[in-house]
């Protein structure tokens, strides 16, 4: 096998919004930056984000970052770290303004300022009237942001490794991360990319579930790389199910639809959200709305002949508003449902959407591990975006906070890496066995003739996760689920490839992705089984209450051998008054 060596100052793995925001800044600072992405950058999943990015610009309603902080802490069901949340909410306005300066085509208000729309879980005056905090480019905000960030990276002449698949981190004996081993998909060559700083920005793992809003590429590769490097994953039991996926198909119907005035209706024609969220109604947080829809359907009040979904109504908004504010949603409904939402309701059902957990990081996006009674940074390694857990989303992310997360912590990572490059001016020597582990894994895939096909195993993982680790969980189901995903993870080490070609071998990539998914399934189910309470997106039927006395803490999952540790939640913001846990009602 050919092994090529390349050397840069910084290696960014992943070309979504987080990776590109960091790369842009570092490349503008004259650092030599390599961005590795398994797809062409504008194919990254940031492109599919619709509704917008939160920042208290106060362009539409009175607003300030303190209210945004309060809403995010409450949305997180108090599992979010309040220091990181303050940092995010406080810097949000600057980061969004920066995006506008880069050229993002935000929708506009009559006075020329950025258009903002209401989104779920947003309030004025700490839980008062609905706020409008989500800055939007129609309903294609992620697309607008991703393309703009890519364009700005073209300006800075960032080096892109398009269609390279990252296999493993390279670490020396002292634990310094020195880059990564990658596979050039088009040629099958192994390429070692050395760097003084490595940023994981590889996104989430929505492909863990059969019905999801995510792109095929969302297989959590960076998270699995972290696990293989002996690093923990934090809060993996918290997986967000978006309330409004297209029923039976999974494509995302943005929360912007409800933000613009759309509402949910059950089979009896009732606007049922009022029973679950007397104040916020359809704009309660996502975990609340998803559970409400499940409950309606389970109790026989679903819509359609199978009574297996609910309806999202927007026709009352009128043709013009829909054309201006929700053109992408309309196009999607026409393509995949053959309906025009300006005339007919949209059939929706909750679908796997976003991973709140991830690689534990500090506020400056450094990957951290437990050390003594506290934590220490892994030298040379950063993580940002959905693959990271800083933790600003806690047990449930608010809509509009994920695009914010990637630009805030993409930038924070770049700021910190700049400092690091000053402190660590030379590349450390690569250990001799740097590539051995990755090569072994590739070779094993070529040798097994009696294993399973990757596509089959991937489907088995998705079906198991859906059945045993979905929205409503119990000890018995999770026990059974854990046994099953552990067996699947064993089987993932023995996969058979029908395709032995070197050139654009998609089956090989799928095999590597499936191994990653299998490890993450284990992390998710093991973490969920241990947490005997209900908090945010983690809903235990056998433990329906939140239990702050025992569980106001973060889970850390380590792989091989599997074990769990815990760390405290940071309940003090940087400067604001702490927001103490209370009952969460919308």
């Amino acid at each position: 096998m050919t092994v090529v060596h390349r050397r840069f100052d910084v290696l960014v793995i992943g070309a979504g919004g987080g990776g590109l925001r960091a790369a842009l800044q570092l490349a503008s600072q004259e650092a030599r930056v390599a961005v590795v992405s398994k797809v062409f950058p504008t194919r990254s999943h940031t492109v599919a984000a619709q509704g917008g990015v939160n920042a208290a610009l106060a362009n539409v309603t009175p607003d300030n970052w303190q209210w945004h902080l309060y809403d995010t802490v409450k949305g997180s069901d108090w599992l979010g770290d309040q220091d990181a949340i303050e940092y995010m909410c406080r810097t949000a306005a600057e980061r969004v303004i920066e995006l506008e300066h880069y050229g993002v085509p935000f929708s506009r208000l009559d006075d020329g300022r950025i258009y903002q729309r209401p989104f779920g879980g947003q309030s004025q005056h700490f839980g008062g009237a609905q706020a409008a905090r989500t800055c939007a480019a129609a309903d294609r905000t992620g697309h607008a942001i991703l393309h703009t960030l890519y364009q700005q990276n073209i300006r800075c002449r960032t080096t892109f490794f398009d269609e390279y698949f990252a296999l493993d981190l390279i670490q020396d004996e002292e634990g310094h991360v020195l880059g990564a081993v990658t596979l050039e998909i088009a040629t099958g060559d192994v390429v070692v990319i050395e760097a003084r700083a490595t940023l994981l920005a590889t996104g989430g793992a929505g492909q863990l579930y059969r019905t999801n809003t995510n792109a095929r590429i969302n297989t959590g590769d960076g998270l699995a790389m972290a696990l293989r490097a002996g690093l923990p994953l934090q809060d993996m039991e918290f997986f967000q199910f978006h309330p409004t996926g297209i029923a039976g198909k999974g494509m995302l119907i943005s929360e912007a639809v409800r933000g613009e005035g759309g509402y949910l209706v059950n089979g009896d024609g009732e606007r049922f959200m009022s029973r679950y969220a007397p104040k916020a109604h359809d704009l309660a947080s996502r975990d609340v709305v998803s559970r409400a829809i499940y409950t309606e359907v389970q109790e026989g009040r679903g819509c359609g002949t199978e009574r297996d979904h609910v309806q999202l109504h927007i026709s009352h908004l009128g043709e013009a508003a829909i054309a201006e504010r929700l053109p992408g949603i309309r196009e999607m409904c026409q393509t995949f449902l053959g309906i025009d939402p300006a005339a007919s309701p949209i059939p929706v059902y909750p679908t796997a959407h976003y991973m709140m957990g991830g690689i534990p990081t500090s506020r400056d996006a450094r990957v951290v591990v437990p050390a003594g009674s506290g934590e220490e940074a892994v030298p040379g390694l950063w993580a940002a975006g959905e693959c990271a857990c800083v933790s600003v989303h806690g047990a449930n992310r608010l809509g509009g906070n994920s695009l914010l997360d990637i630009i805030v912590f993409g930038r924070a990572a770049a700021d910190d890496i700049e400092r690091w490059l000053q402190e660590a001016p030379y590349h450390r020597p690569l250990p001799e066995a740097a590539v051995a582990r990755s090569l072994q894994r590739l070779e094993a895939l070529e040798q097994d003739d009696d294993g399973e096909r990757p596509a089959e195993l991937r489907k088995a993982i998705q079906a198991t996760m859906e059945q045993y680790c979905g929205v409503f969980r119990t000890e018995a189901k999770l026990q059974e689920g854990l046994a099953q995903v552990q067996a699947l993870a064993q089987r993932s080490l023995k996969l058979r490839l029908s395709d032995r070609s070197r050139i654009f071998n998609i089956e090989r990539i799928e095999a590597l992705e499936t191994q990653n998914l299998a490890a993450l399934a284990c992390a998710t189910v093991a973490s969920a089984l241990a947490r005997t309470e209900s908090r945010g997106a983690h809903s235990r039927v056998d433990h329906p209450e939140r239990d702050d006395a025992q569980w106001l803490r973060h889970t850390l999952y380590f792989h091989q051998p599997a074990r769990l540790e815990y760390k405290p939640v940071k309940l003090r913001p940087l400067t604001a008054e702490p927001i103490p846990p209370v009952e969460r009602i919308y």
């Binding site: 062409f40 599919a48 506008e100 300066h101 208000l109 020329g112």
Partner: protein, 230 residues
């Protein structure tokens, strides 16, 4: 449903060929799902795809002579056998996968980023809803390549003619009230090839899966050139 799919595996030493496939399709099935089902029977069949909802632009291909995104193309109503080929005019890497670099090179060439020379305000640059509206039908491009690879002028001169996708983006910045790079942008587009090789054949408009109209924007660039450069 019967399919006939272009196969090329450079390591095999075999010439490219069309391979027949059959599949029991479901009502409402999209072509991408059909191709994935075919991949279950033959995992060596290579094509790009990702989001499955027409926003990432990965799975552009030529189906019954027309460039489409597989994920937004229903199989119902396709003439059988469904002929599936890689995007025309691009070097084939393998099966339905082409080397998109000639396409992206032209995209990079137009300097597809906002250029502002004046000091930036602390807050957002103001832009009226009317000014912003001029970007509609432009910024939505997903860089799938359907348009440029359907364009005879691009087939003939992929290195000299920018092609509809890049020209649409050139106009996206020329039309942006915030951009101050107009003069240099128009200078760059001068000459017999980069812009003016467009003969208004309109294949690009015909195939754009997002319903965009590059031919119209090429006309608008020409008008602007006449106005601004005399």
């Amino acid at each position: 449903m019967r399919f006939s799919i272009y196969r090329y595996q450079p390591e095999s030493g075999d010439a490219p060929s069309m391979q027949p496939f059959e599949l029991a399709v479901r009502p409402g099935m999209m072509l991408r799902e059909a191709l994935l089902a075919l991949r279950d029977t033959d995992p060596t069949l290579a094509f790009r795809h990702s989001c499955g909802e027409g926003v990432c632009g990965s799975d552009a291909m030529n189906v019954n002579g027309r460039n489409v995104l597989a994920c937004t193309t229903p199989v119902d109503g396709l003439k059988e056998p469904v002929q599936i080929r890689p995007l025309p005019g691009m070097p084939v890497v393998r099966d339905l996968i082409v080397d998109m670099e000639p396409f992206f090179r032209q995209y990079r060439a137009i300097q597809p980023y906002l250029q502002v020379n004046d000091p930036l305000p602390e807050s957002e640059q103001r832009q009226s809803p009317t000014e912003r509206q001029r970007l509609d039908g432009l910024y939505e491009c997903i860089l799938c390549g359907c348009c440029s690879t359907a364009c005879p002028s691009f087939w003939w001169n992929p290195d000299k003619f920018l092609g509809p996708a890049a020209l649409l983006q050139a106009w996206r910045f020329l039309a942006d009230s915030r951009d101050q790079g107009r003069e240099a942008r128009l200078d760059f587009l001068e000459g017999p090839f980069r812009l003016f090789r467009c003969h208004s054949i309109m294949n690009c408009v015909e195939v754009c899966p997002k319903g965009l109209n590059p031919t119209r924007t090429i006309g608008l660039i020409r008008q602007m050139m006449l106005r601004e450069m005399g």
